[in-house]
């Protein structure tokens, strides 16, 4: 990479011939009028996305057959650079002939791939990838207009990096599974943040809901906490302090006892824990169906105590209050 990076390539040299072609002469540029849509027996959908202040804005026109939901005709207008215009043009082409639901499945990645001259070489340089994201967003907007629903209801998952389409869940998972410690590592593992870099940290190309720096920090904090808890939960019950005992008791109740009680519509809460003369006394209060149940002072109580003996220690006594 270094040798090629040193002189610094021109952005434009990295555009595919298809990108240049569609920039110079976009096939789907223009508008669809109400009259034209009507003549096709179609419903006109107009969707705007982006803003001049952000450097990119696109308007998508669809003529949709209301009986089949099929997009009969697509056109666009764009305030944007060459790649934004070329991506919008390809997006319009890809959506033509599809149903609205099928069109919703078109992603920026598919748009970019369709603009490649050969399958191996990207159609646009990484820092231009966000221009193709506009194409995806405006489809979602058009579909929401057509369906009369809120756009957020069409989002499949919480996307952190629009360019590489990487979701929040995936990023958290790779951090945990691979014990990642830097944002650069997240990018290596997922490609998130490798393109326009907006999602790396605040202050980038565009404002994002999630930033990799924050996700990394929060996930690392959560991992640290879990590690501390795991350490605290492990080991001899008798050696634990009262707070640690409370935690493991609650955990055992949650895992082994409350589900069983819940099956009969009941539950319990811990009111107090007191240690006296080598015995750990757990004061509980029954809730729901358990309250006043005959078994609550006999069979159920025995079940709870036995379970805690088995899970934690023999010197536990459970006292309902």
């Amino acid at each position: 990479m270094a040798k090629n990076d040193l002189i610094g390539g021109s952005l434009w040299e990295q555009y595919s011939a298809k990108v240049s072609e569609r920039m110079n002469d976009p096939r789907y540029r223009g508008e669809i009028s109400e009259v034209e849509a009507k003549a096709l027996g179609a419903r006109l959908v107009v969707a705007d996305w982006g803003a001049e202040a952000c450097g990119d804005a696109v308007r998508l026109y669809w003529a949709v057959d209301p009986k089949t939901d099929r997009i009969l005709l697509a056109k666009f207008k764009s305030f944007g650079c060459g790649t934004a215009i070329a991506s919008s043009d390809m997006m319009a082409e890809l959506s033509t002939g599809k149903t609205v639901d099928q069109a919703l499945k078109i992603t920026n990645i598919e748009v970019e791939r369709s603009l490649r001259d050969n399958p191996e070489t990207p159609a646009i340089p990484p820092q231009k990838m966000h221009c193709s994201v506009m194409a995806y967003d405006v489809i979602k907007k058009a579909a929401s207009v057509y369906k009369g629903v809120d756009m957020s209801s069409l989002a499949e998952e919480d996307i952190v990096c629009e360019c590489a389409r990487v979701g929040l869940r995936t990023i958290k998972d790779v951090i945990r599974i691979n014990d990642l410690k830097t944002v650069e590592e997240i990018t290596q593992y997922t490609k998130a943040g490798a393109f326009c870099k907006s999602c790396l940290r605040p202050g980038g190309h565009e404002k994002r809901k999630h930033y990799l720096v924050d996700i990394l920090r929060d996930t690392r904090i959560a991992m640290e906490q879990e590690k501390l808890f795991a350490q605290a939960d492990a080991g001899d019950f008798a050696a634990k302090n009262l707070i640690q005992k409370h935690r493991v008791i609650e955990k055992a109740l949650d895992e082994k006892i409350r589900p069983a009680l819940a099956a009969d519509g009941g539950s319990l809460e811990v009111v107090d824990i007191r240690e006296a003369a080598g015995t750990v006394n757990i004061y509980i209060r029954y809730l729901g169906a358990c309250k006043g149940c005959v078994s609550s002072t006999k069979g159920t109580l025995q079940f709870i105590e036995n379970m805690l003996h088995q899970e934690l220690a023999k010197n536990i006594r459970v006292i309902p209050v």
């Binding site: 920039m23 540029r29 450097g55 650079c81 215009i85 231009k128 221009c131 190309h205």
Partner: protein, 391 residues
């Protein structure tokens, strides 16, 4: 198709006479000027002539230094980092004052010095797009400020800063003053007699000299720690064998730049105004900064509803080279501080195109460029989703 070059603030054509003057110093007089033998010494007369031309070009005195280096970027780094070591690192000063609109080679250098503990104050520009004396007075502190660095002319807008007034204020307060004159040489008179600057930096390739050579003026008696340590070249102030042919080329380029100042101020200005009038005749366009405050060769225009990069793509496809400050691919979308200060809508930040002329630009080229610009504006506005007539 004869292409039209309207990006002279990026770089310029080497004047053929400059190229001819450099020619003998590649294969004939190629000696190292520091050698004792005749190969070395025979380079000296031409080098002395070049130095005379550089000194005369900016009105420097024999007691001043003009360090020959690689470019203004190097000179700017030399001044900022040198003074950091001389005055800030171990005291007695702590601050550098500069502007929000300097070239990245000053801004990024300042950011680096901040990481080493220096305090840097970034002055805003006023509604004219330049920095005034009052603002400078508010930012400098004689006890703390090591250096004030303000460009002579802005690369994007062509706006000329009141460097004489700023340098005088610095002198009154005993604060050193540096100006990056890379966009000024050959466009406006750069005279160190009139402007009491302590350091001035420039690059040859902005005034029809070769790329990779520049100069750093240091007023007499001032100390500046070197950026490059090594041999005794440039009396130890900048190590490295001097690029003899390039120095010779820069000398002649400087002389011609100064000789052509009147032509620049009249004929280039006329062509620039002709282009500017033609752009402003297109509906919904504007030009940043008052004409009389700009270098005679520069126009930063905005075409409403057209994204800058799309426009230069289109112009390029039709043989006109210009540039845009609105890089859609840039990693930051911070609003341009000049635009903010001048009250220019944020919407227009992505619509700016810079046209910069030179003494090689012809009237015929301007007329052809105007036709291309009109046609391009029309085509791109026809596919623009944000452009509406009269809005």
């Amino acid at each position: 198709m004869n292409r039209i070059y309207l990006d002279n603030n990026a770089t310029t054509i080497v004047d053929p006479r400059v190229k001819d003057a450099m020619e003998p110093f590649f294969c004939q007089q190629y000696g190292n000027p520091n050698s004792l033998h005749s190969f070395g010494t025979e380079t000296h007369p031409a080098m002395r002539l070049a130095m005379d031309r550089l000194y005369a070009g900016i009105g420097a005195g024999d007691e001043d230094d003009i360090i020959i280096n690689s470019c203004a970027c190097e000179g700017n780094n030399h001044v900022l980092k040198g003074l950091y070591f001389d005055l800030i690192r171990n005291g007695p000063k702590s601050e550098i004052v500069t502007t929000q609109v300097e070239h990245p080679c000053v801004l990024n250098c300042c950011a680096f010095l901040e990481s080493l503990g220096a305090k840097v104050k970034y002055m805003p520009v006023n509604s004219d797009g330049t920095v005034d004396g009052e603002t400078l007075r508010q930012h400098i502190h004689p006890g703390r400020t090591a250096l004030v660095s303000v460009m002579w002319a802005n690369n994007e807008t062509g706006l000329v800063f009141p460097v004489q007034e700023l340098a005088e204020i610095c002198r009154e307060n005993g604060v050193l003053f540096h100006t990056d004159a890379v966009q000024a040489i050959g466009k406006v008179a750069v005279d160190v007699d009139r402007v009491p600057a302590d350091f001035i930096t420039f690059s040859a390739h902005k005034f029809h000299g070769p790329k990779g050579v520049g100069g750093l003026f240091i007023r007499k008696g001032l100390k500046l720690t070197p950026l490059l340590h090594g041999g005794e070249q440039m009396s130890g102030k900048r190590a490295g064998t001097v690029n003899v042919p390039y120095l010779i080329g820069m000398g002649l380029a400087m002389e011609m730049a100064v000789d052509n100042l009147a032509y620049e101020d009249s004929s280039v200005r006329l062509l620039r105004d002709r282009l500017e009038d033609a752009i402003l005749a297109i509906p919904d366009t504007m030009v940043v900064g008052k004409r009389e405050l700009r270098t005679p060769n520069t126009i930063l225009a905005s075409f409403r509803g057209i994204e800058g990069e799309a426009m230069i793509w289109d112009l390029n496809a039709n043989g006109v080279a210009a540039s845009t400050g609105s890089a859609c691919a840039s990693e930051s979308l911070e609003p341009n501080p000049t635009f903010v200060a001048m009250g220019i809508s944020h919407d227009l930040a992505h619509t700016s195109i810079r046209f910069s002329l030179s003494r090689f630009t012809t009237a015929e080229e301007i007329d052809r460029a105007v036709a291309v610009i009109r046609q391009s504006a029309q085509r791109l506005r026809a596919i623009s989703s944000t452009y509406k007539n009269g809005k």
